[in-house]
Subunit: 172 residues, 6 copies
């Protein structure tokens, strides 16, 4: 297992583009938050698949902000890149941009950090290749990923003790 | 504006149920993370609409965890309730459960905190009614919402300085 | 088989809520009848699953009325409850309401009676638990279900003699 | 208004064919009842539009039976024809068939009677052309449509008195 | 294999009708080209299935023109018929019409030629029945299909030499 | 109008990636031809929008070949680039690749040439910027685009004389 060769950030980077159709919008003509979330999950998953070449499940989403609306008549561009791996999990940063098809203007509208867990065919977690970070920015994102992970685990622990653990499966 | 009458948590609580169809799943038969995210956004938005009776936009999603998979042949149950309001924004907790349609067994699979901003017809933020919290649990969630908000704003500030602010609209 | 324990109406009652998206509407902005029918089938099926915990097929729909339109910008609320069981089939009443998200006003827009048949894994009909009816209203719906069934069978028989039976499978 | 020229049954008859895709099915591979209902509404609406050339709303569905399942790998064929008009409403019979794409075998799987109301641009009911019935079968369906209407109105009246009228709009 | 009985053009002709819903359109209210292409593929496939009663894959699309737009509030009518078979492949002509639901006016908006290949369960090409052409028009389309095929093969060969052959599978 | 500045091929190149979901496939697990066509139209339209910054309609599709199937569990990658402009129309080449998410293997599965027409707000054709071609390959595609256009116009003319022109709008 130790023999898994590391991969660079660039080796799994993804850029997706989607055309906003009426079906993706709320009655005001803005893209639904839930539609953007679905695309963020897809864009993040492609990067994580390219890094790991494994079956993946989405484990968590954090710091997802919607700063500007995206409207009918604009393109949605998603850029995703792996920021760090933790044995069997992969954190991916996904940034979302809108591009106006008439003016060409682009603006970042969202960003998010999505974590995936790699599984084998029987559903057990599997090691993923190490991430080779090179540039100053890659190293900074790598360091911050650890902070995010610690905060996430601390919060999850509190939440689990409070909400999940009291809750028992029951039949109805 | 000060005359907006407060509303209780119970007044806007929501329970949604969805049947998992093949279209909602990945090739392994598990519900897609992005599909669950879309439903979380819908369930949270209904609670926020019931509390505010305003036009809303999704502003952020945090602490979204996927702890157990949901499969074809199970129901997705979503429960959402307002945890706190901050002048023009509303934090909603959304919990996700799966219910097996053959055994009736239920299990919490996800939880998330989604924040919505209330707008008037011209797109400017509008005050929303205060939240009346009564039970010990409601008061606890209310206090923790402030912590979450502070952490979110701190992170957003760092993220904005780093990623958004350097980035300028350009034409292509 | 006689040992199947009866279940109350409350044990399987369902409330669903859906947000009307542009995709659900006709060019006038009203929800499509066919979309409401799909939701009625889903809401009825959840109640029938909760009562029977069996594989189910939809057998018939009757007395489905559309009294008021539902528009973009409104929620669709569906309430379903078992009205009677007949050995292997389950009649469910589904009522549909619209809730305006700005005013909170609610109005019943449709009702329907949907009958499901419970099957085992090989596709043969299976007995379902008896329905325990308690309130005066539950007993009334229970009695009327028998009338509806008789009318349905009488009509089906006529229809079958006329349309189905004359019609023979053929190859083209 | 009396000058609206009558139209024959043949002038508005419709035949639709749909390919069953995985998205249309339940986890067992059978087409969802709600999907068939949506197609029935579409097929009936096309016939009613061709007869009336008016804006239409679906008013009611009756005697909808599901006699045989339709599976992935089969075509859904829908045939609809106007059976009678009542001033501003149009009753359409819709029959559903499955056609196996490998064997070519066809079998009727459902039938239903759907009633549409014709509206003008302001939403008020409008007269529709009379139906010219010629064959013995067309005349028989025409006579039976009256029976169905009477039964429907009688049931609707009871249902309205019981369920709808007691229910008052309320704010939440 | 030589015993496959020929079939007439009429034996596999298809007419489909679809109602344009908001989800099928671009922000200007016109049906998306890609939506029409999907329907052309479906309509062509039904005719090819009826002719061959085989598993089919779409092999190519040619001469697809969009001459007039189709708008929300119109029906899409597709007519498809087999024009010629070449051992294991079937060329189908698909014509697309719009029908205005208020005026009844019909206009051809597109036509295309789609070629399908018949396969057995293991994915190998299978012979399909010969096409029996009778009318002068059927014979003309039959002759022209050969021209189209020759042009297609000539172009495909050039394209393959240029684009496909230089391109080698690689791992990323 | 003559002042429209030319744009290079690179200025409007597009790469899209899509995850194949069960809903995109036929019962054998292969992506539907019609789904790929829809994506080709989207990918081609983005390139044409980036070149023209105009409202566009799809005018024709040619030489669309499906050489290899794409399956559930693979990514669809589309690459589109403008090959030539003709006053108000833009020809775009779209190439389709599959990428296996477990092995990373990539293979070209389709290519097509799609032509779009640029319109102003009133629906009249508008001039688009000239295409600046630089590399030997860009010049070759540019020359061949003229051949394709001539063949397309010749075929369209024959087809129109034969099929479209005889056909007159009629009311039904």
């Amino acid at each position: 297992m130790a023999k898994l060769k590391g991969k660079t950030v660039a080796a799994s980077e993804v850029e997706m583009i989607e055309v906003v159709l009426p079906n993706d919008t709320n009655p005001l003509g803005n893209v639904l938050g839930g539609r953007v979330m679905h695309l963020i999950d897809m864009a993040g998953a492609v990067a994580a698949h390219r890094h790991s070449r494994r079956i993946l499940v989405t484990a968590s989403v954090d710091y997802l902000d919607f700063v500007h609306p995206i409207r009918v008549g604009q393109f949605i561009i998603l850029k995703s890149r792996v920021t760090r791996v933790f044995h069997t999990s992969i954190e991916v940063e996904v940034r979302v941009f809108r591009e106006d098809y008439m003016t060409g203007e682009r603006l970042q509208t969202s960003s998010a950090f999505v974590t995936y867990v790699a599984l084998d065919e029987t559903g057990r977690p599997r090691l993923v290749p190490a991430l080779i970070v090179r540039s100053r920015e890659e190293r900074q994102r790598y360091r911050e990923a650890l902070e995010r992970r610690r905060h996430r685990l601390a919060m999850a622990k509190r939440a689990h003790l409070r909400y999940f653990d009291k809750w028992q499966p029951k039949r109805r």
